[in-house]
Amino acid sequence: MSIDIKLAIENRKSLKPRAKIQNIYCPGDDISTDNRLMRGHGTHCIDGRIISSVAGICERVNKLVTVRPLKTRYAGEIGDLVIGRILEVQQKRWKVDTNSRMDSVLQLTSVMLPSGETRKKTVEDEFMMRSFLKEGDLISAEVHNIFNDGAISLYSRSDKYGKLENGTLVKVSPTIIKRCKSHFHILPCNVNAIIGLNGYIWLSPLPVEDGDMETIIRDKATIARLRNCILALAEHCVQIYDTSIMAIFEASLKYKVEVDDCFYRKHCSLSNQDATKIRDKKQQQQNPWRHGCHSCETIHSTLYTSSLDYTVLWNIAMSAPLPGIL
């Protein structure tokens, strides 16, 4: 058991900007002075100039210019699968934290009773609310509706959804969750993963009948490794979905080191090398529309902590495929 105290200045040496960053904006950066463009989310207009109001990646759809922030709260969309935590039991409804700007609402009428019934809820059910779901409980649910103020109303009246038990929650930024056909996955490493579009990811071992000690321990180690892998992806702003999780998980198996907190940093240096290769390839292929970038230092100090690599930023900016799954 040795304790390693790293020095910030040691990290900094390797942080000389390697690539010119394209397409990434800090708050206050000029995006365009072209007055034919329309300003979208994440931008504002001063004297006819379109200026970024968040730190993120600029996207253009025809005339519409938006800046997608790298770190943000979840803005709900109807039909999304989300994972939430019960904050409060109220009359006929629960208040749920779903990583959005406002607390979400789960109506008593939009849950399924523990017995699986979908009957009309009675007054007795209202009294029993805390026995169904109490403060701190985690649920998976669907976004049912979005109110005018942005608050989300949830819906979990299906046997797919409901209370989550025996597992662990990983929180990442909702921007890096990839929208997929299904968000319920049984990963090949015997782990059940529910990837909520709000950036909450639930990992739990597959239920086993009379599982022996060895399986339990192995599953726990796998979940710990997966958790660190997901955080590694999040730290490097790589999109998260089942394939990317499994790719990084398999890459991590090479390391004999038992999963530990520093582990994912070691792993990331590997994916960065891959990312550099991809970037070089991309660079030859295309010339991005935006040239002449502001000082990398500004972005660096505003946006990222020391461990983030520019190559990865480039990756997002170019929406390059993931390392490992090429």
């Binding site: 304790i3 597992g167 907190d261």
Partner: protein
């Protein structure tokens, strides 16, 4: 600070700890990643910024020439002040963080008031008249479990970084005259080799866990905070909860971990010094948050 865990999440964590697998894959006695930087604030005599996983603590030490106390005429003083910013947690807004700040502050001042931890005599400028008072300001920017450990490491690093100007005080006809050395680089450093660090041990189930993250902290039955010096000597112990039966075992673990922490800190501080000495350019690029 973090949300309340559900019962099943807690049991998942506790069960894992029984098998020596924590949710982040660490061993029970393993610390998370620590990143240290000293000399971050030019306005202070000494400063340090430490990150322990997502704990973020900034410490500044300011020195002031003050009149000595009557009971300790040839000693300086150390004053601690801890501020939990609302950036760390929304609950800290207004007076919300005061309780935690007070706890950390008491622990730090208790740890440093143990005899032999700091040579307070070295702070004396003119016995019976003037001595340095070091105001140690601890700013909690982000917290993520085991805050005390991070704060104490940062305090020690900041004290190691502290440079006091060379001054002389003369007495001219009942008036004290302070004379500062002409060379601005003529400074005195403090000896922190015996300064303690705090080690928090948590009891989860039947096991003893160090450096708990916020989730694990919620599962802990009790906590034991130890002030340990570089030789592994436990200067004092404080348990906010009830004292567990096999405390001796915990003390042993705490003392060896504390000694380790102290040694690694000394080592890192030396490494930083030599790095900066060999490559002074590093200093000019320094900024607090990159």
């Amino acid at each position: 600070m973090t949300d309340i865990l559900s019962e099943t999440e807690k049991s998942f964590i506790i069960e894992g700890i029984q098998h020596n697998i924590r949710i982040d894959g660490r061993d029970l006695t393993e610390y998370r990643q620590l990143v240290l930087e000293t000399g971050v604030s030019p306005n202070c005599n000494g400063s340090a910024h430490i990150r322990l996983a997502n704990n973020d603590v900034l410490v500044g030490v300011k020195a002031d020439l003050e009149e000595t106390k009557e009971d300790t005429p040839s000693e300086g003083r150390l004053e601690f002040f801890v501020d939990c910013t609302a950036n760390a947690a929304p609950q800290f807004e207004g007076r919300g963080g005061e309780r935690l700040a007070y706890q950390i502050c008491t622990m730090l001042s208790k740890a440093y008031s143990q005899p032999g931890t700091m040579d307070l005599g070295a702070l004396s400028v003119m016995a019976g008249h003037r001595a340095w008072t070091l105001y140690v300001d601890v700013l909690i920017l982000e917290c993520g479990g085991s805050l005390m450990d991070a704060a104490s490491l940062a305090v020690k690093a900041a004290l190691a970084d502290t440079k006091l100007p060379e001054v002389k005080v003369h007495q001219v006809e009942n008036l004290l005259e302070v004379e500062v050395a002409e060379d601005p680089f003529a400074t005195v450093s403090l000896d922190v080799s015996r300064a303690p660090v705090l080690v928090t041990l948590s009891r989860v189930g039947r096991h003893c866990v160090v450096d708990t993250n916020q989730e694990e902290e919620q599962c802990a039955l009790s906590q034991l905070v130890l002030a340990v010096d570089a030789e592994g000597q436990v200067l004092f112990a404080h348990s906010p909860g009830f004292l567990a039966a096999d405390n001796l075992e915990m003390l042993d673990l705490g003392s060896s971990l504390g000694a380790q922490l102290n040694l690694s800190l000394h080592d890192s501080l030396r490494r930083e010094q030599s790095l900066l000495h060999n490559n002074p350019g590093l200093k000019s690029e320094r900024g607090l948050f990159d």
